[in-house]
């Protein structure tokens, strides 16, 4: 109904006035209606693009973030156990000192440090710094390597402490 009204307007518009504008509006309206029937193209997804370091880091940032989300439950357990008493603390320790607990804690360390270093990139980019493709690649590699190096350093310290004890 609305379309008919605009059609009438266009028909009745004088030659000197805004006929062009009305025709254009009518054209836009028609395009909008056609588009509903057309299958819209989907945007290309992960498997289409060549894997780049910024893309890999972006995906990893999310996955690691979700892992840390679950990991907060472990941190809460540690704090609650320490607040509760010696038995609760000992129960936490027995799980944390188990090889599987150690593996989880190693993963937790890397996840935290990776998310931290990777996250710094976003704060840097927010300041419109290092946004060129080359610079973005460089700080992405730097963040990934820094996180791995820091994780190794942390666990080297832990192993040294264990050796000393």
């Amino acid at each position: 109904m609305r379309r008919r009204a605009i059609n009438n307007e266009a028909t009745h518009a004088g030659p000197s006035g805004s006929a062009d504008l009305l025709v254009a509006r009518n054209g836009v309206l028609r395009m909008a209606e056609q588009r509903q029937a057309v299958e819209r193209p989907l945007s290309p997804h992960l498997q289409i693009y060549r894997l780049t370091i910024t893309m890999a880091m972006s995906i990893l940032h999310r996955i690691v973030g979700v892992a840390l989300y679950a990991g907060t439950a472990l941190a809460a357990w540690w704090l609650i156990a320490t607040a509760t008493g010696p038995e609760a603390y000992a129960a936490f320790r027995s799980v944390a000192d188990h090889w599987f607990g150690q593996l989880v804690l190693f993963g937790f360390t890397w996840a935290l440090l990776h998310h931290l270093f990777s996250g710094i990139r976003y704060l840097v980019w927010d300041e419109i710094v290092a946004t060129s493709p080359k610079a973005a690649d460089r700080i992405s590699w730097a963040a990934a390597i820094a996180a791995l190096a820091a994780t190794v350093l942390v666990w080297a310290v832990i192993c040294t402490m264990r050796g000393a004890i």
Partner: protein, 131 residues
């Protein structure tokens, strides 16, 4: 886009009031401020956790009971919970489809974040106040 032919509303009319809730900018800024806060806090508490490797109960309790450590821990917990609630909400909104499931996931996200957050805050406070 499966509007029936009898629907006389225009495409614009159909989408009006279904767009932005106009409150996303707050979360965006909060996500960055908490991130900034957690750079030093995260590095500090990684070191702090390492210092407690193999520590017995009394040592761990005394370390966490230090007022400076306790306040830093409270800050870390508040920043982390805010940050992870927003982050998970974005992940859910990106991948979870279906109104019912999405609502449940978003509500669950709030429940988990607040439960874990308050548990941590309570524990740190209890240790700090020596209860």
């Amino acid at each position: 886009m499966s509007a029936s032919k009898k629907d006389m509303r225009t495409p614009l009319g159909r989408v009006l009031a279904h767009g932005s809730a106009k409150s996303g900018t707050g979360d965006h800024i909060r996500q960055r401020i908490t991130a900034l806060a957690m750079v030093p806090l995260g590095l500090f508490f990684t070191g702090f956790a390492v210092s407690l490797v193999g520590a017995d109960y009394e040592t761990a309790r005394a370390a966490l009971g230090n007022p400076f450590i306790a306040v830093a821990a409270l800050l870390f917990v508040v920043a982390a919970i805010m940050h992870m609630r927003i982050g998970m909400q974005i992940v859910i909104e990106d991948y979870v489809t279906g109104a019912r499931l999405r609502s449940l996931a978003l509500i669950g996200n709030f429940f988990f974040s607040y439960a874990v957050g308050l548990a941590c805050l309570y524990a740190v406070a209890k240790i700090g106040f020596g209860g």
